[in-house]
Each structure stands twice: as C-alpha cells, then as structure tokens.
Symmetry: C2
Subunit: 244 residues, 2 copies
Amino acid sequence: MQFTSDQRLDDGVLERAFTLGEIPGILWTPGSASAPAPLILLGLPPLGLRTMYPRLAARARRAAADGFAAATVELPGSGDRPRWAAAEEARADLRRAMEAGEPVSDEIIDALVLPLVDKAVPESQAALDALLSLPEIGGPAGYSGGLISIGIRLAVVEPRIVAAGLFAGSFVPRTMFEEARQVTIPLHVLLQWDDEGNDRQAALDLFDAFGSKEKTLHANMGGHTGVPQFAADDAADFFARHLT
Amino acid sequence: MQFTSDQRLDDGVLERAFTLGEIPGILWTPGSASAPAPLILLGLPPLGLRTMYPRLAARARRAAADGFAAATVELPGSGDRPRWAAAEEARADLRRAMEAGEPVSDEIIDALVLPLVDKAVPESQAALDALLSLPEIGGPAGYSGGLISIGIRLAVVEPRIVAAGLFAGSFVPRTMFEEARQVTIPLHVLLQWDDEGNDRQAALDLFDAFGSKEKTLHANMGGHTGVPQFAADDAADFFARHLT
C-alpha cells in the first residue's frame, strides 16, 4: 500500500489517496484522534471512484466527525481499471433490456454481479489487511453502501467486519439470497421506497432473508439518489453503536 | 381540565395527573424550560393508562429531555372508563377468532376499531385544546404511537398535529387505507418485522398508501413488544426535526 497524495480538508480530516498494487483508493482519517480509529469501508457502485467522490467524501467526513476512519477502493472494471469482456457484455445486455423496457433476466443479473463480487471481495479483504495494519487505524471494521451483493459476501466471509450498512438499490442474483441467510452481523438496510431502478418486493424479501438477529430496514421516499440527510444520520448512529 | 396530583420525577420532569371532564390523563413537562414547549401527544393502545404507564413515562422522559412536553389521555372504554356493549362484543369476537387460530374478519376489525376512532379522535382534539392553552405549552404538536388508526384520523383532521410517529402493530380497517392516502404530514412508521399479532404485508401496504411526501418506515426484529432502544432514539430524532 502506497500513499500517493494527501490533503487536509477544511474540517481537519486528512484525505490520502493510495494504491494497493494496481488498485486506487482513498483513506480519510479524523483530524484529531487520541487512539487508533475504527474503520468504515465505504463500498462503491460500479460508477467509479471519481464519479462517486463527492458523496463518498461527505460520508467519510461524517464518519471522521464520529471518530472513525473511512476508506474506499476502486472496483475491478471501474474508473481507470482494466475492463473485462464478459462484464462489458453483461452491461450492454442490461442497457439493452432497460432501454427496451424489458424485465432484466436472472442471467443478465448473474453475469453482471457475480464475477464482480468474486473479484471485489478478496480485494476488499486485501485493503482491510493493509488499512488495519496502519498505526492510526484500529478495529473493528464496518462496511457501508456500495453494491449490496459485495456487502453480503463480505459480511459472510470476513470476520473483521462486525456491522454493515447496506443499500438495497441494485440487482441481486438469486444465489445471494442464500448467502444472505448466512449473515449474522448487525445490519442497517436502507431502501428507497420508490427507487426507479430497484424491485421493492425483492428488496423486502432480501431483508427478510438476512440471518442477523439485529437487522433494521429504513425505507424513505425520494428515488434512488434521493436518500434524505436524516437517513445518513441514522446510519451514522448505527455505526456509532457497533464500532465503539 | 383539572390537575388532580403532581410529582417531580428524579430527572426533574414534572408529572401531573389531570381530568378532562370524565377523561383521565397525564401531562409531563420538562424540568427546566425557558420557552413554551412543543407537545407530543402519546397515543394509547386499548390496554389502559395504568398498564401502559411504565412505557409511557419512559417515552415522556425522553421527550422532556429533548425539550418537549408529552401528554396522554385514557381511551374510551379503557381503564376505569365506562365500557360500551358493542366494543365488548367486538373484543370477545376477536379473542374467539384468535384463540381458534382463525383469520380475523374485516367485520370484527371494523367493529373493534372504527367506533373507537370515532370517539377517541374528538377527545384527543379536546385534549389538544386544553393542553395548548397552558402557558408552559406552545406548539406545534406531534402524535406518537397508540392505535395506528387513531393516528391516521388525527393526521387527516387535526391541523395542529404537524408530524406523527405511528406504530404499525394493530388491526387496520380497510377504510383507513383511504384515509391514509389523505395524510400529508411527515410520518415516522415503526414496524416490528416479526410482530406475532400483526399482518406484515398489510403494514407495508399501509405505509405505501400514506400520501405524505416525507414518510419513513423503520422495521426492526423482536416481536410486538420488542422494539429496540435505538428505534426509540430514531423516533425522538424525528420529532426533534419536526417540532423544533
């Protein structure tokens, strides 16, 4: 892990770009911390780090204000990272189906999401290895947002992640429902009730499937990108309960 | 409105019992308040004020800590208030159906809930008249908990109530879904996902029906009486946003 640049934001938060092998990422740490900070790993949708930067930085600043470090790494096939043919094909199939107003088939969803999960999860774990070895970062770690299937897999396979805030706003392969049953960590699930690109009933079924004893669903109005500010506050309260 | 007793609780909150005509009630006001406090009207289930007192007092203390007054009035036919024959019959029908493991018919639900709503709502409005005329209470007012159908009707007919926290945990007559569409104030709806006495799908349909632009559903695990402490905190944040 190599830091490639750093800047101090106006609220004192230290923002550092890094690369982990070929993978670019960003780490935000609180301006003043007397002890190693717990970490929130911020998940990404497959839109690229650059596109998502403003929203990520806002969430990271909020995390830092609560005493947490936050970090994110570019997804495979996003941003400047090399594309791979099968993923590009699946994206094209998705676009075609949506433009034609057709239902998106399970085959398209599987081809789109499953290889991405398979690649992204070990990368997230490698990022955890590197981040948690920094003296300014302690544990435990939480996972927040991004592609929900990556969050589900991480919650199952990665014991250092003790709580997850998930956004039920993307296509979920049927096999992920089985993995969801194996999740036992506390979950905070956000659902935009009238999300134009999301199947509400599937999101409710997924929430029902999670094996966690503590799981909370917060549904709000406002479309996919219309998550209200108070929902971010509730999510921050969730991490404050479980990471401190 | 006549105060019949008062006591100062250990956190400085002033708790006063009152009667409004024949109706008993309780008012809690913050220990120290520099300005008239906004009011949260605490709704009741048909279990009686005495049974519900511990939970009500806890919610009232939390409201007082946030700078709000809180008050509640006994429902018609509950506690020491006179029963009426039709309601007793409907309760007996409900008990019979539930003990037999039969579905509770729309007729039973209507007979149980609609007359109660018709009686309780004007009483709640009379309580608002009296409470809001006290110098230590200002506005606006919120409504919290209790029988959800009473909350729905109040939200529609009572303009002094500007926000409502509702508990989707009771039988809802079909006609209330139509009233729900007329609700426009901000809503915070609590649902216990595995509530043994509640139809989850009906609760989700009801949430969907509300006409409010700002409405939030918080679903948690734990059965009807298992609402977690953090859910109470989220509800308190909701009122803090809308009553201050």
